[in-house]
């Protein structure tokens, strides 16, 4: 198979569009047969939102790496916005939060653009980690200081640092894979999202035993197994857009799926500890940006580093 990266991108996007068309048809058929029920309505809203998300991703892949960085910087912005909205901050946190929104996000993504890997990897966990509480001191408010600082640091790590590892795949130099970073980013996003979708579908069809009823009531053991295996199989079959062999690709997909599941569960627990059911209302049928990116935030950094460690040139 001697396709250019551009042709591979076209094929994969063609496949996604075909899948979505099937999903839309199924949704239409269910609406006709089952009528206007809550589940069907939510399913159709989700499919419609997927068309929108795929359109945004499609355009940004067409425009090139800089567009990818801008889109992911916006994703981080919206994710942090949802996180901090649910977090009870106090007036003394104003300065560190202004820095988080308006300085840390642009700098972190600029470091990817600049291909400055060394600083990209430590800028938030070292410099911002120390700078945020240092700035909060100027607020002069010691009430719940540790809790407030920790929550802001957590939001910054998940919404900016972790999510930024997805587009950082573009700057990896891998053996025999120069200039194909966008395909690897697409691979990650596809496996994570297919895993989420398939867990939902298998859960709705066969779900009986709840996986973690108090943390995430909609997740079931049947959904997890069916969805996880399907996503791993689809990921393995996409080996031709990655630097991996089919077997390695299956392993990587299994890793992405596993991290994604833990991300979904851990962030669901965080969300509930902040007293909410959804992170926001930005994406119809899905909830907020963080509801869509929770799995990515755990899967992206691990996938990035495992790939970097084993496949760097």
């Amino acid at each position: 198979m001697d396709m250019t990266p551009q042709q591979k991108l076209m094929w994969v996007f063609g496949g996604i569009v075909a899948l979505l068309a099937v999903a839309s048809l199924v949704g239409w058929w269910l609406h006709r047969r089952r009528g206007d029920t809550e589940v069907v309505r939510n399913l159709n809203a989700r499919v419609r939102a997927w068309w929108g998300m795929v359109a945004v991703l499609g355009v940004c892949f067409m425009l090139g790496p800089t567009a990818n960085l801008v889109v992911f910087a916006c994703i981080s912005f919206f994710a942090l916005r949802e996180f901090i909205t649910l977090t009870p901050t106090r007036p003394g946190d104003h300065l560190p939060l202004v820095i988080a929104f308006y300085v840390l996000i642009p700098v972190q993504y600029w470091l990817i653009h600049d291909q400055w890997y060394g600083l990209f990897a430590i800028f938030l966990p070292v410099y911002a980690f120390l700078a945020l509480p240092a700035l909060a001191v100027f607020g002069g408010d010691t009430h719940d200081f540790l809790e407030r600082t920790t929550k802001i640091q957590w939001g910054v790590m998940i919404a900016i640092y972790c999510i930024s590892h997805a587009p950082a795949l573009l700057i990896l130099h891998l053996r025999g894979y120069e200039g194909q970073g966008p395909l690897l980013l697409l691979y990650l996003m596809l496996v994570v999202q297919i895993s989420d979708v398939m867990q939902y579908v298998f859960g709705k069809l066969f779900g009986k035993r709840k996986l973690a009823p108090t943390v995430s009531p909609s997740k079931t053991v049947e959904g997890l197994i069916g969805g996880g295996l399907t996503a791993t199989a689809i990921g393995a079959s996409l080996w031709w857009i990655t630097p991996f062999t089919p077997l390695q690709s299956a392993g990587m997909s299994a890793l992405i799926v596993t991290c994604g599941v833990f991300g979904g569960l851990a962030l669901s627990a965080v969300k509930r500890s902040l007293g909410a059911k959804d992170w926001g209302r930005m994406i119809e049928g899905h909830g907020g940006m963080m509801d869509r990116m929770d799995s990515v935030s755990f899967a992206a950094p691990i996938f990035f580093h495992v790939t970097r460690y084993y496949f760097s040139s």
């Binding site: 916005r81 909205t85 007036p91 939060l97 929104f101 308006y102 209302r281």
Partner: protein, 201 residues
């Protein structure tokens, strides 16, 4: 002809910056109404105004402080030509007679209003004591629907003294119109009105 464009832009910017999503806990009143809310930042007026549906926004005017909004330049233009604000004098030394006269005139014309009965901003989650103006207006206009509203994150977006707003999502929760109680003492009325806002928090 530029005012409708400016109004649309203002709503767009406000939504982008602070969300300003409306959450009506009871159907919005059809007739003339007075929306009263907690006051915690300079963005409050714009957030409530942006959260209204266009038809309601067109007939609703914010009651705003002259000392803040009547500054030459952008603020004066926005307050006067875009928001059609009813400007009132808060500074006692500048007051010439009853400061509520322009508000009463607007209500007599049939306009709906947005009012912050605390009179001044507070950095807290819950509103302070309400001042008497709301009671006087309620007495003078017995058929006016008094709609409580609560702004949930603006005290964190732009606390007193801050200059750069945080882009948190603000939800504007509107409650059912306050029931009218005959011969209710002033303090009891004000406390009940404040309670209606607190209940939405």
């Amino acid at each position: 002809m530029i005012e409708p464009v400016a109004a649309a832009a203002l709503v767009g910017i406000t939504r982008l910056l602070v969300g300003a999503r409306a959450d009506w806990q009871a159907p919005p009143p059809l007739g003339q109404c007075l929306i009263f809310a907690n006051h915690s930042s300079h963005l409050d007026t714009l957030a409530i105004w942006s959260a209204l549906v266009p038809a309601m926004r067109a007939r609703t005017r914010p009651v705003a402080a002259r000392d803040y909004w009547d500054k030459p330049g952008l603020r004066q233009y926005v307050a006067g030509r875009v928001l059609h604000a009813v400007l009132i004098e808060r500074r006692r030394e500048e007051q010439d007679g009853d400061p509520l006269v322009p508000v009463i005139a607007a209500l007599e014309q049939g306009d709906s209003l947005i009012l912050f009965p605390e009179g001044t901003r507070t950095a807290e989650r819950l509103p302070q004591r309400f001042r008497g103006g709301l009671h006087r207006l309620a007495e003078a206009f017995p058929d006016l629907a008094l709609v409580p509203a609560y702004l949930d994150t603006l005290h964190r977006s732009l606390p007193k003294g801050a200059h750069i707003p945080l882009p948190l999502y603000c939800t504007v929760r509107f409650g059912p119109a306050l029931a009218r109680v005959a011969d209710e003492p002033r303090e009891a009325f004000l406390e009940r009105a404040r309670g209606a806002v607190v209940a939405l928090a």
